[in-house]
Symmetry: C2
């Protein structure tokens, strides 16, 4: 057990002296120290596979920001290589995934293909016993969208057409991804991480009926199976939180990580689940006084004494100012729960 167990106490709704804080993409390009380590590998995927460097990067936010949790440095696309796909991160262009669109051509996922990830987890736990370590994976729909689009997308048009017009194949793909993510997260848990987060970054692009009919069952099955096997907290991150709240509340996740489309005081009335996030990342571009004010406004609107984890509604961006991120973390840490 980590010495500073604030995050775990908040998740178990035990008394806490202040709200725990960590940030999505807390180890990233906005940090000079990250950029220096990044230079040591030719591309981003090689960096993810370099255990020494990934451990150092994972530890940066604890050293530089003194956050309450470490999320391991990796990328949600990492397990797709284990399905036989070519994954590339081209500088300035974002990720690309090469897939021929045939579900039958996917290799059976072997979790050992990502052994470097489990080594990173073990090494991060070995090198610090201060704070809990968070493992993570993409949710089935979000990974499917990268496979079908071939990379990032704004409208997810190809994914939607695949889902509507190749319904049987889409279902098979979602099943394969659900099993893959289950195996991948299981191996992360067995490597010792204390919490896992599932990133459903893009399901928010769907209509409610498409989510209900084509997506919900797989996410639900994944999380249910994890919770049956492992006694470890599961965080579910989803965008467009307002639209999909009722589905998310039915998932067996312990923690719901919210974007800024919902009012946390209203969500708190509907659920006893632990909540995370909700601050609009854009406040990090504001002046210091505004940043503090908006952060305190959010903290004051949390009608709980525990069961809340501070985070943003989305990840940190490369052009953010480190000093403002530090100010944000300190503002949360200095806030007294009334």
């Amino acid at each position: 057990m980590p010495k500073r167990d604030l995050l775990l106490r908040a998740i178990h709704q035990n008394p806490i002296e202040r709200f725990p804080v960590w940030l999505m993409r807390q180890a990233g390009r906005y940090m000079k120290e990250y950029r220096e380590l990044r230079e040591k590998e030719k591309d981003f995927l090689s960096l993810c596979k370099n255990v020494d460097l990934s451990v150092k990067i994972s530890l940066l936010p604890l050293e530089l920001l003194d956050v309450d949790a470490i999320i391991i440095f990796s990328d949600i696309l990492v397990p797709l290589e284990g399905l036989g796909l070519t994954v590339r991160f081209v500088e300035g262009e974002g990720p690309s995934v090469e897939w021929d669109g045939k579900v039958g051509s996917l290799k059976k996922y072997d979790p050992e293909s990502n052994s470097f990830v489990y080594q990173i987890i073990q090494r991060v736990i070995g090198e610090q016993q201060e704070v809990p370590v968070i493992g993570f994976a993409g949710a089935p729909f979000t990974l499917a969208s990268y496979m079908i689009e071939g990379g990032a997308s704004r409208d997810f048009l190809r994914t939607k057409l695949f889902m509507w017009e190749r319904e049987y194949d889409f279902g098979r793909l979602m099943e394969i991804l659900t099993d893959t993510i289950y195996d991948y997260l299981s191996a992360q848990i067995e490597a010792g991480c204390h919490v896992v987060q599932i990133f459903d970054s893009w399901a928010g692009a769907l209509s409610r009926s498409d989510y209900e009919y084509h997506v919900y069952q797989y996410t639900d099955h994944l999380i249910g199976r994890m919770k049956e096997k492992y006694d470890i907290p599961v965080i579910y991150f989803f965008r467009n939180s307002s639209s999909f709240m009722d589905f998310a509340l039915n998932l067996r996740a312990d923690v719901l990580s919210l974007d800024w489309s919902v009012d946390i005081s209203e969500v708190s009335l509907k659920t006893d689940k632990v909540l995370q996030g909700n601050l609009e990342p854009a406040v990090l571009y504001a002046e210091e006084e505004t940043l503090k004010l908006k952060t305190l406004e959010l903290l004051r609107s949390v009608p709980r004494k525990t069961g809340y984890i501070f985070n943003l509604g989305h990840g940190l961006a490369p052009d953010m100012d480190f000093n403002k991120v530090k100010l944000l973390v300190d503002t949360v840490k200095n806030y007294n729960i009334p």
Copy 2:
């Protein structure tokens, strides 16, 4: 009164024989006939000011699609010139608005500066008495965002920072825009249009607390003032409908035009207001069978015999196929309300 008053009967919740249908951006680049007329003027803004051409363009969807309403051909940025701003539409780049950021430098809006718009309305009504004519304007926040960003935006970062850090100026700007839009829509109504639609395309980018504190009062005031003076239906179009539904329900608009983030059957349970829209525009890229299926799925989910107007959750796009748009309209027109 137009001969085919289906739209007006649906709005007044009188009996209808089928759901009325019109489409946002129904006269646009996806139509060959539009592209031919577009060629006759050097730029988009000149096209909007050319009454003859704008009348012809406005009439195209009635001629080619036989829709149940004509929305006049124009753009929401048109009245900004009346505030002394330079508005440009650069082909392939989207709109640009030049403003020095000083609220004091804005000219007092004279509705006569947009007399061509009222002429278009009068001429469209003169040339056909078949269907109702819809006038429109952008909502205060949406126009403010174009002024502050200088054009379109994905994150509305400048707008948010202006709103948070120059709160007094932002409020003054919203007041000026509210008065401007009121005068502009009043002149459209006096020119004879039967319905007006207010496009709040971008308020959905805000957090709920920002919308509540910085935006809601102006939209509410605008619509309230319109409804006090004119006995004419007001449609309020808003994106991110799920998140802002409770605010929209409180507005005095007669019709709420929804995107696809909500389930219309659920919204229908919450309100007696007339509803419009809700179909995801992406279905227009699907095969014909899928397009029909998704359209019928939506129509069947409307738990009403009147009080619904078919539309998409957003406007038509230039790369859509005219034949599919026609199929969409015909599918709606052939649907029998059970």
